[in-house]
Assembly symmetry: D2
Homo-oligomer: 190 residues x 4
């Protein structure tokens, strides 16, 4: 693919696996501050939309796409094939345990947490090099409150809320349809 | 610079020149669907934040940064130097006239319009190759309504509204501070 | 009913008739600046949620609930009965024509416009007393742009956008679900 | 005053005292589900904007406006005079202690908490009659997370986020200026 950034949501194979929407994906990737050779882990990789866009950017680096669901793993691999992202390694497993087998990391994306957000952030912290960054996206108030507290304590952190509304046809007119708010909590190890 | 994507707002030299904030910049760049060799024009380049991030992505392409204000031109050039973005060419002039001297374009970013949004979109349309894309960011209702109408008529278009709120210190706590809504209207020439 | 303000969405009988949600209803009613004896027209009354709350507030005034759909009229009347709002008069008809038979008005609410937003605003303007107010809620970009232009020209006007997100159960957690943005354009005759 | 609902922000005397803006005030008042004879406490009454609008609605009830700052008390009293809201009693004191001297309550509004949000909610719970309601507005993440947890535990509760943007002049055009997001957490004692 000639594209270097900006894959539309509908270009990914999806099935029923939830996907971080493109506007939020763009912001997460921007907040990562990727280098061409960054070593990245994407926790809860799902369809692989974030892993693939990160791998395209960090073209001389490596992305570990961690996902626990077998169904999602199939779709993730199909998307990796579709976009030829051969610097992605799929890890079928669950964080924080799955982080242990990985090398030292420059960047960690947390998109799914299955109720273990605190352990995952702490596990990521262990694996990150000094100057390393973590970017967590959250949609539940419980996880927001936990991640906010945990990251406040140990990182130079930032919290943003993103609301996106898109115009869609309503009869012959167009109305704005809002997507659900997403909170992005990010931090840099000092 | 080793970075391939994601420059923070406070890394740019700014003066009093208005700047598209990083979350919106991320979404505009994503919506551009850049290729490594894209030829891009950035209308109303201001500080150059969009031009520079686009030039970093389209590293084998070229970015024409069009800006009419002499004050902004100085800051724009200082930022280009700072980030070593040598595939940017600064055009001191005003759209749509300044577009005439440019080669055929793959992508057009419109960030500033000085009341000429309709002419700029039409001028961009003339310069864009088939499959070319335009991404316009708007903050006034008047420009939103004009751009929406003009792009609806001649492009496969999309309209999104982006609202970002960031946590800032309020005493010993953190409160969410909203940035003003930005509308992003984008289209692809068919 | 002992209640003087604040009927929840789920207290209204609804069927499939669209309803202005309670947070937006609260803001529209606030923006109306009602007096106890205000004479009000509610154009596109639908379920009657706005008419009924307005009638409860303007308890010594009168509310004309204008609605063109027979199906909605049935639900509207059922809600009026349920809340005992006997200072509402139901007008089965369509604005702006239906406005002609009404007396001079103090307040006009426009919730539905069926593509006639400009004529309805102009019709309302004819009927309103000096100092009278109109509050229009809009969900399409086309109507926003038209209403904004028409009201700018002839009223002291205000435009607001409202985005509401509500926490809903997501598994054992709660996530914020956004409602679609609503634009409220209001004006006062001078 | 002939008005029964809907006082504009600029009608209140303000000084430097922070004030809940009118759109959020409208939603808080709606969420209170006031009766004409409700007994209400407004904790952190500030300028009195919420107390006065509540007193206007609950015209046969009583509103206790609790405020700890002497400066705010002066402005609060001036506003009560201005709007002739003689069913308001000003309590110079701090919650939760100040709640003790009050009679049983039907409704509690919490607008300011000075770091004691948990104690205030628990204090309010003690004072509220069965079927009583509490509506808390929050702007910090810390208070949101605390109030969410405390109310989840002991009330049938609701959490909403409100974002309002208003059009303001920008040169000869109008741009949308966002107000900061406010979270409203409400609950009913069962």
């Amino acid at each position: 693919m000639n594209r270097c950034f900006g894959i539309a949501d509908n270009e990914f194979i999806r099935g029923k696996v939830p996907m971080t929407k493109e506007e939020v994906r763009a912001i997460i990737l921007h907040r990562l501050r990727l280098n061409r050779n960054s070593i990245v882990a994407d926790i809860g990789a799902g369809t692989g939309s974030l892993s693939i866009e990160a791998a395209l950017l960090a073209s001389e680096g490596r992305v570990y796409a961690v996902e626990k669901s077998s169904e999602a793993i199939g779709i993730l691999k199909a998307n990796i094939d579709k976009f030829g992202a051969d610097n992605i390694e799929v890890i079928h497993g669950e964080a924080p345990e799955a982080l242990e087998s990985l090398p030292r990391l420059d960047r960690v994306i947390v998109g799914g947490s299955s109720g273990k957000i605190e352990d995952i952030i702490n596990g990521a912290k262990e694996k990150l090099r000094p100057g390393g960054r973590i970017v967590v996206s959250l949609i539940t108030l419980e996880n927001l409150c936990t991640a906010f507290k945990v990251l406040e304590g140990s990182f130079e952190s930032e919290v943003s809320e993103i609301i996106v509304a898109k115009a869609e046809k309503l009869g012959k007119y167009k109305s704005l349809r809002a997507r659900n708010p997403v909170f992005i909590v990010s931090g840099e190890i000092q």
